[in-house]
Symmetry: C4
Subunit: 122 residues, 4 copies
């Protein structure tokens, strides 16, 4: 099953610093959900863009064959963590086709709010 | 009226285990809404992808001509139910063009939160 | 400015029957937002699809040149109103290019919840 | 890295007049998030469309090379501010490819509600 594209972009990145604590599922988070429906592993290169400084990256990671990776930007650390309360944007480059969906859970105000969209693909 | 595509993907699948009880409309659920605007019935084959195990499927079902099916992943059972609180992704293959939109209602924290996006189509 | 397409689809239609009362902006509603950025009026034909009965329509209306119409499905009446608490889907046909975005405000549980996506275009 | 398109549209524009006060991050706002992943600055021309009057614009601004701009429509002032509680739609024209994502935070009812979608691109 070959489904997807190699270049994806998310223009709306933002990790709120506050939110519900304790249950990691309810902590405010920003996610790129990646589906690799193919028979081969895929290598991802992620670059982050900011409002007022140079891009950061690449963040490199595999997505295994026939697997999905729901990647929290909260958890990225190499080359550096993603700052909270800061506008950013994302380009994801894969060496084989994948599908990328962008989701945020925002629990700053003690209620859960969600947004999601299929990312832009080239 | 021929509208749609044959291959669709949802990368962000997740059914929260908690939520409002009683009214089935308010129970946390994950949905693929499928529109078959054509004059012929369509057969769907759905495959689920996970983070750490082999894909499961196909789940097979028809979408009748000139009908919409709002399919809750909560209700799938054959070949097996969809685990709760677990990241997954979805590929839907139809034997004629359909339109697929992905929606989640999350009522874990006793408020309603919604997300929706037209799925990715090949 | 010519921007858009002629055929659009929304697979996830649903008008909750409950919600906040009084302020019409906060009443639960389902909307197709249509942008006609062109120099000519556009005629829309809308057909609704259901889970278990024949499609209803067309609902016909103009979108004037250089205008946007944020159309609430709650307000449709001819040929018949849209039932509440009922799954439906939508095909919109325009005689010139428009852009369609689907939005729902759900205030059933006394909080506001939103979803939105650019509709599927052929 | 060249990613994106030159013409984008958002059909669902609306800035609620009420909401949480104090923290600007929680004020109700409507945003176009723009990613310019290229090596050259991009010039944006934004036109707003309304339900019952002529379009307003252009609003002109740059998006610098390798930067993202999360533009709040709340903050536009030249040629005129964007009215609150008023339906509008948006066309963005860039002189080189960008990616545009539309997001709203609605805090009218003292909870946070979010919607987001990749905008429509020509």
């Amino acid at each position: 099953m070959t489904v997807g594209r190699r270049i994806w972009a998310i223009a709306e990145g933002y990790i709120p610093s506050g939110g519900l604590e304790g249950d990691s599922a309810l902590v405010s988070h920003e996610t790129a959900c990646i589906l690799n429906a193919q028979e081969v592993d895929v290598n991802l290169r992620i670059t982050l863009y900011f409002a007022d400084r140079e891009p950061v990256g690449p963040y490199c990671m595999p997505v295994l064959a026939r697997r999905t990776l729901h990647l929290r930007f909260n958890d990225l650390s190499d080359p550096e963590p993603v700052p909270r309360d800061t506008d950013f944007a994302v380009v994801l480059e894969a060496d084989a086709p994948v599908v990328v969906q962008h989701t945020r859970l925002d629990s700053r105000h003690q209620n859960i709010s969600l947004l999601s969209t299929i990312a832009f693909s080239e």
